[in-house]
């Protein structure tokens, strides 16, 4: 936000569903619209099963079967990449424009090849560098993600690295061909807290040198509010609220967001009571016409059972899908 922000990717009405037996469908991502600016960290929070990962995989068109992207558009530099064929995705998008890091670094690395081979592989696929140039680039990348003694370590195999180091290697792989968007799907969940901070510091630091935008997916609200510029709160495949992190922390509007905030302990408040959101995520295959949060909402109204609230602009960069806020309070300031 230091410089003028330009839009990198724009997602419109993205819907992804999974085919169930007996002709039923489970809608995992429901009519999602949002955008990501160049160089920004967009946090996505939501509980397990809220469609965060499916949304990320939809961007890459890698939804595992029986899932399909039913409708929507994903504009990247003005082109709708959802119309791309698998081959076009492979050569133009995956690894080059959009890259991804995973929750379990150990299982996301190929145990049969050295770390060097795996980083080099991206370069072999997407660049015309020769062997020597690739070696230099691998070395450079490993230095960048602060792997000590990279000349030696790059010849080792994934199991010879610690969890934090493996995640760094994954980041190096993801960054190898300078993507413009890095999807970080729970990047630190499997790591211990000190390593977590290290990795997040690194990801945040990348932005200083013209690094990629980051889509930071997590169920850890603290982590996301601390590290991202804007936050998208997801529930049952829909966006509940989207705002800048400062806005969201200071002025949460959606009952679900408020519930989430109240369930996180705050070190500043002594004797604070932690509240939980009652109930659990509804069965996505059996959603009615109403608001997806209706069954658990403390402020539910009769209208909530009948119609789905649409996201409404309630402030600068602040959107909320709730019937409580359908009428813009003070002129949409």
């Amino acid at each position: 936000m230091k410089t003028k922000r330009s839009e990198y990717i724009r997602v419109e009405h993205l819907t992804t569903s999974f085919k169930l037996p007996h002709g039923r469908r489970l809608v995992a991502v429901d009519d999602l619209s949002f955008n990501i600016y160049h160089g920004e960290i967009l946090g996505v929070v939501g509980e397990s099963g809220s469609g965060k990962s499916v949304m990320a995989k939809s961007l890459l068109q890698l939804v595992p079967p029986p899932g399909t992207i039913d409708s929507g558009k994903v504009f990247l530099n003005g082109v709708d990449i959802l119309t791309y064929s698998d081959k076009e995705m492979r050569s133009n998008i995956r690894g080059t424009e959009i890259s991804m890091i995973f929750q379990e670094p150990m299982s996301a690395l190929n145990p049969s090849f050295s770390v060097k081979w795996q980083i080099e592989e991206v370069l072999r696929l997407h660049t015309t560098l020769n062997k020597q140039e690739r070696y230099e680039r691998v070395l450079d990348l490993l230095r960048k993600v602060s792997i000590p003694d990279p000349e030696k370590r790059m010849k080792e195999y994934p199991h010879q690295f610690s969890g934090g180091m493996q995640q760094r290697v994954l980041i190096a792989i993801a960054l190898a061909s300078s993507p413009r968007l890095l999807i970080a799907d729970e990047p630190t969940t499997a790591l211990d807290v000190t390593v977590q901070a290290d990795i997040m510091d690194f990801l945040e630091g990348m932005r200083q040198n013209d690094g990629p935008s980051i889509l930071l997916i997590s169920h850890n609200l603290n982590l996301v509010t601390e590290r991202s510029d804007r936050i998208m709160v997801m529930y049952a495949g829909r966006i509940m609220e989207m705002a800048t992190s400062i806005d969201l922390v200071n002025n949460p509007l959606h009952p679900y967001t408020i519930g989430l905030m109240d369930s996180v302990p705050d070190m500043g408040k002594e004797g604070q009571k932690l509240t939980a959101i009652p109930g659990e995520l509804p069965n996505l295959a059996e959603l009615g016409n109403g608001c997806v949060f209706y069954s658990r909402c403390s402020k539910a109204m009769p209208i909530c059972e009948k119609t789905k609230p649409e996201p409404v602009k309630v402030g600068t960069e602040h959107y909320c899908s709730c019937h409580l806020h359908q009428v813009v309070p003070d002129g949409g300031r």
């Binding site: 890698l62 995956r94 690894g95 996301a108 994954l170």
Partner: protein, 309 residues
């Protein structure tokens, strides 16, 4: 290691430190291998037995005192073991020791050929079936079910009945029998591995399908396939012996162990010792294959990668 990038001359200690960081040399790797293998008795014993058998097969003309077909009818037939004929002589006066030694070539050769062929054909088919899934998978698996329901010997006998007996036909028939098992194993390995996160990660960086199969799935399912290969060597030796025993396989005078067993059956009363040595040879080879295969299973655990592989 490039020492040129450091602006300071590398000190004596630095050199030593760099030496220690170097990739293990071939000698070190071999040393590592043996120190690991030492703890694995099955692998050691099975390995040495197989090595011994392979040496015997390769150096048969040097080891055997006579050729496998040298008949000495003027001397006593069906002679008991002596210094001159350690395993005795058979009904044609041929030296049984020499025949067992030459028989190693036949038995081991046939076993390796047919299991090898079965694996080379079966594994790619199975991997494709597992990776693609759908109707191709169903087709391949049902076909392999059909082949697997037919007992090995019956299958081999049927094929020899159609194509005539002989070495090539036995190899072909046994290879056919070994295809479905190899395909099934490969398929089930691919099924479990294609769901791994590193395969998803490979897709994310834009790997094409064939490279995913070859570089991400194949290397990670090769371990059990190699183990299956060695374990099946011994079963192939038995199968070849069985077919030859029935008279459909190797034809005389080529000395296959199974054929020697079958020949010696007619002289059970006159020279019971005749059937002992080819039988023992089969036992040793089967035991060696099984021990080695079991040991390999532990060795090929990917966690030991980087130490010596």
């Amino acid at each position: 290691m490039s020492t040129g990038e450091s602006p300071h001359p590398v000190s004596e200690i630095g050199l030593v430190a760099r030496d220690m960081l170097k990739k293990p040399s071939v000698r070190e790797r071999v040393k590592n291998f043996f120190s690991f293998a030492k703890g694995n008795k099955k692998l050691m014993i099975g390995g040495f037995m197989l090595l011994f058998i392979a040496v015997v097969a390769l150096c048969a003309p040097l080891i055997a005192p006579y050729t496998y077909n040298e008949m000495r009818t003027s001397e006593t037939l069906l002679e008991a073991p002596s210094w001159k004929h350690p395993f005795g002589t058979d009904n044609f006066g041929r030296d049984v020791f020499s025949r067992v030694v030459y028989g190693t070539r036949v038995s081991l050769g046939i076993a390796i050929l047919c299991v090898g062929l079965g694996t080379i054909v079966g594994v790619p088919i199975g991997m494709l079936a597992g990776y693609l899934g759908g109707w191709f998978d169903i087709l391949i698996m049902r076909l392999s079910d059909v082949i697997m329901t037919i007992p090995t010997i019956l299958m081999a006998v049927t094929i020899t009945a159609i194509m005539g007996s002989g070495l090539k036909v036995v190899i072909f028939a046994l290879a056919l029998v070994y295809i479905p098992g190899a395909a099934r194993l490969a398929r089930s390995m691919v099924y479990s591995i294609k769901e791994r996160e590193y395969v998803a990660a490979a897709k994310v960086i834009g790997e094409p399908q064939h490279r995913i199969l070859w570089r991400y799935i194949f290397p990670n399912c090769i371990g059990p396939i190699i183990v299956q290969f060695t374990l099946r060597l011994s079963s192939a030796v038995l199968a070849e012996a069985g077919i030859s025993y029935l008279g459909y396989g190797t034809q005389p005078p080529i000395p296959s162990w199974g054929l020697m067993l079958s020949d010696s059956q007619g002289y059970m009363w006159q020279a019971p010792i005749l059937c002992i040595f080819p039988g023992l040879a089969i036992l040793v080879l089967v035991l060696a294959g099984n021990l080695f295969g079991d040991g390999l299973r532990d060795l090929l655990d990917p966690r030991f990668k980087g130490r010596f592989v």
